[in-house]
Symmetry: C2
Subunit: 271 residues, 2 copies
């Protein structure tokens, strides 16, 4: 397990909680975080450098922010055993595909993107049930079927629901389901701050809408650096919709407003 | 209690759960909802028309949507006893102030706006602890101090935190803390629907951001009909911020994006 924050720490805890728990050797850029994870039973061993964590492992998981994960692909390439599988839990896949191709690991890489998380980060926020019932996008670039089966089996063992998708489709989808809500929450929070309002001035709905604004800027920094081309398109689309709503409110066009609310209410109740 | 949906039903349940529970006589435009509330112990009596619910009451609560509440002010005016206090739980106050002035009830009306609720509506969604720890804005138009004390006492008895505000200030604030998040959630939901996405495609952050999209269009219809002038201003302000973010993403201006995220993250952690 390379990286022991919210995602890697939770994965290590979940693996160690299995009835047939595998050995989990961990590395973190923060030695104290690795020591904490070890002490809390998330790891069976701690190592000082990422290559050593990869040596002898059946499955190597990159659970760092995006740029670090792309770099680690090259770092661990030489240390991977012949049957070892490489996965990651990064929320954009096109940059990983590039890094995996450069490292010559396409046959053994099967990327994962679990659709869960939280605005808190670090091992302190990790919990063994983070992945239970989560959807997990699984992306590969021509990996062998044994590697795909291993990664899908991992998620199923933890109660998550793996589903395959193309890397480009995945990233375009993420622009709308992840990046767009994130930046909308940031923009709303800044508007409220500029109006002299505090989180305590909000009701539960407003708190829901600004919860993502508390997400870690560090985690998002390289996700935004590699933002899919669909993100600015989606942001402008939402801006246009808000302007239309402003026009409708001003014109007292209650039919249009009511129709929008009825349609989005019906959508929200679909599963 | 006039109206026995989420707000009125929860208030009736909470009052009846007090150690020194008062009698609570209820009326609802839906006779079956009133019967349900009575059967579930929220009411000590049910009446067929709103005037009869107001007769003999120390405190009359209007817990209907905005337009109905404005109309009920006139309906109950003649039935209020000399020492009776009139309050409401409507989330805009300027239209209520107008109705109360027309009915000659300014001395006895002390409006309330509890900052709680939920996207579900009707008595089925009501619960006795809805108001616990909620902020409640209290607005009056020159009411007597005994009436103000009675309404503040009501909310304190239920564990809520009443705070006074001017009607106009209240409504301008609501444009940003309530209407704006609501319509933003609707717009985001419609964008996702138009992109062929479903609620199940979202992670927890995206689900937070679209939860309000499930709010009742009926409840919002007359709130939007009386929308404060600040609402279109706030909607366009948010649209401008989203366009700026789109430009920054496209330009790869990570410093600007990081600064926005850091500022909104710090704001979200303030209390």
């Amino acid at each position: 397990m390379l990286g022991l924050g919210l995602m890697g720490g939770s994965l290590a805890l979940a693996l160690r909680a299995l009835a047939d728990a595998p050995a989990v050797v961990g590395w973190s850029p923060s030695a104290s975080e690795a020591a904490t994870a070890h002490r809390r039973g998330a790891l069976t061993g701690v190592v000082d450098d990422p290559e050593r964590a990869a040596e002898g492992a059946d499955l190597v998981v990159l659970a760092t922010p995006l740029d670090a994960a792309c770099e680690l692909v090259g770092t661990v390439a030489g240390a991977l055993g012949p049957g070892a599988t490489l996965t990651d839990v990064v929320s954009l896949k096109a940059p990983l595909v590039d890094a995996v191709r450069r490292a010559g690991l396409t046959a053994r890489w099967v990327g994962s993107h679990p659709m869960c998380g939280g605005e808190r980060s670090g091992f302190e926020a990790a919990r063994a049930d983070l992945y239970r019932d989560a959807s997990v996008w699984v992306v590969d670039d021509g990996a062998g079927s044994a590697h795909r089966a291993r990664v899908e089996g991992l998620w199923k063992a933890l109660g998550a629901r793996p589903e395959s998708i193309e890397a480009a489709d995945h990233d375009a989808r993420m622009a709308r389901v992840s990046h767009l809500p994130q930046l909308t929450s940031n923009a709303l929070a800044l508007l409220l701050e500029d109006a002299g309002l505090l989180p305590d001035d909000l009701g539960p709905g407003g708190r829901d809408m600004t919860r993502l604004a508390g997400s870690s800027p560090t985690v998002w920094a390289d996700l935004l650096a590699h933002a899919p081309a669909d993100l600015p398109v989606a942001l402008r689309d939402l801006a246009d919709r808000l302007r239309s709503l402003a026009d409708q409110v001003e014109a007292g066009d209650l039919d249009a407003l009511g129709a929008s609310m009825a349609r989005s209410c019906a959508w929200r109740q679909r599963t």
